[in-house]
Symmetry: C2
Subunit: 325 residues, 2 copies
């Protein structure tokens, strides 16, 4: 099942169910007004939403034609946005780029940061660049949405808390990162609002491509219609989503609707390209002595999507234009 | 006006208006079901809630007797919990305690971290200590709740976004901090759920004690009924809440209901005591060569409150017992 949120002028938008092919939708506000309210009462909301999805896919309900620009992020605001950094080749390249050391516990202790979650971007919202020196970059990721999750979940039990899967563009101002991390309290101003894919889908939509707490498909990032990378999001994910759930629940529980990100998808093989410009610039520096690709500039267009084995877009496209405002 | 949230089994509880003396309340769910929904539509909700408060204080409405244990945090879950560290003597003592350097921009660039906000603790919820080696500490703070706040607010315009003021116990596992900050991404597991005071109050409740974006009253912290400190929360706050609003809105906006904390209230004068045990232990180390006060242990009781100039409790008491579970 694919779920989306229609912009309706309210902070949380209006819940809709989208057809398997992503081209039509049916309003679901009579089941639960918002995706958050569905997640708060998932066991009862799920059967009713599934029935709507079946009616739409069978043709019993016609639904309405989907216009991607009418969609908000599936959760236009979430109670938590917790972002991991589970692809080690990303950590290695980005830390090398800013001259930072690799953590000693790189392979044993997951890196996560707490992101801002009160204002999230729709898949087609512009990327704002008020100051070109801030070094705007995209970061393409896979995420899961958790149901209510208690403290102390072990990885072997973590799958039962995964409700939905979606994609993110974890936007970063690279120019603001070094001074901010130097202060010791993590990212804040260097991470503006994060954008999410049009559809959040139940794990069964991915079939066998979701297993071991990883999404075994390639994540495509395009800049101005040129493919920047299509790395495998599966095996190279050193810590699975289940590992990350065990880590984040060490000292506290989470409310339904918490979004947990994989970190920028990255493969060691340079042929698979990149999911962010910082990695590409670092690879260029290693090869040529200096970066050639600039960070994002007004007018640039970033597209992020994931195709299934039949070539169909699972989550719809994040498709954002950079503006100077 | 004092606002609170009654526990009712739902994730967000039920909005109530509390009398000026904090002893009676009237249900406000017919105005707006939750504090979040009131904050989302403040301009329309505020007059109706104020009218309820007046009826209660005038005796026109009798209301119900208030039982502090029936109250949840004013926002049992919030979309963001952004915590500053605006008292420089706290930063100096705590960093000295863990052998960390002071940031070069200490006096010019505010420190803030993004806290977890999806599960917040009621004022009487227990403080959980699953492992005594985690070094459980309280941190008493003053906070404001923001209305919807756009990107790029200047400090001179920040007061218009402050809706409510309340207290927090920003619980910390000191033993988990060094290894976590070493990784470079800020606090995560070292900050379990934060607790909040029973009442969130409109700034006018504080009269002239709230000015220049600071609360000019003393914040009292008691451990097992012994006063640990009553530092002035006003002038020693190096960055005011208005400074913090300017800082946090540099690259993004915030939804209504965002909670912004001052950081642990701390005065340079040792006679004012402390608002956390890490500071007390550091002062003991400086004076005696070693800390004498242990971190919190099961059975300990922490109380945090703020009295106005007439000696009345403005926010009610955070009153938590430590349990080993």
């Amino acid at each position: 099942m694919k779920l989306s949120t229609l912009r309706d002028g309210t902070p949380d938008g209006s819940l809709v169910v989208v057809s398997r092919h992503g081209d039509r939708f049916v309003r679901a506000a009579h089941v639960r007004p918002t995706l958050q309210s569905a997640l708060d009462d998932w066991d009862r909301a799920f059967p009713a939403l599934s029935a709507l999805a079946s009616s739409l896919d069978s043709g019993a309900v016609e639904g309405e034609a989907l216009d991607a620009s009418a969609l908000h992020a599936p959760l236009p605001r979430a109670y938590e946005w917790v972002d991991g950094s589970a692809y080690l080749s990303h950590i290695a390249l980005v830390r090398k780029a800013r001259g930072a050391e690799l953590p000693a516990t790189l392979r044993t202790d997951p890196l996560v940061y707490q992101g801002g979650s009160g204002v999230l971007l729709a898949p087609t919202d512009p990327l704002e660049l008020p100051d070109p020196d801030w070094g705007l970059d995209f970061e393409a990721e896979v995420c899961v949405v958790l149901g209510r999750t208690p403290r102390g979940v072990r990885r072997a039990a973590a799958s039962r808390y995964v409700r939905l899967i979606l994609l993110a563009n974890d936007v970063t101002y690279r120019g603001l990162v070094p001074a901010e991390l130097e202060k010791g309290f993590g990212f804040f101003c260097s991470k503006p609002a994060t954008a999410f894919s049009p559809f959040a889908v139940t794990p069964d939509e991915l079939g066998s491509a979701f297993h071991d707490g990883r999404v075994h498909l390639r994540l495509r990032s395009l800049l101005n219609d040129v493919l920047m990378g299509d790395p495998d999001a599966g095996v190279p994910m050193h810590f699975s989503f289940f590992d990350l759930v065990q880590h984040i629940t060490k000292t506290r529980g989470f409310t339904a609707g918490t979004i947990l990100g994989s970190g920028t998808v990255s493969n060691e093989d340079p042929a698979r390209g990149v999911s962010c410009l910082a990695e590409r610039r670092m690879r260029e520096t290693i090869e040529h002595g200096a970066p050639k690709t600039p960070f994002l500039r007004p007018g640039d267009r970033v597209r992020i999507e994931m195709l299934d084995e039949q070539g169909a877009s699972v989550f719809g496209s994040i498709d954002q234009k950079v503006i100077s405002a």
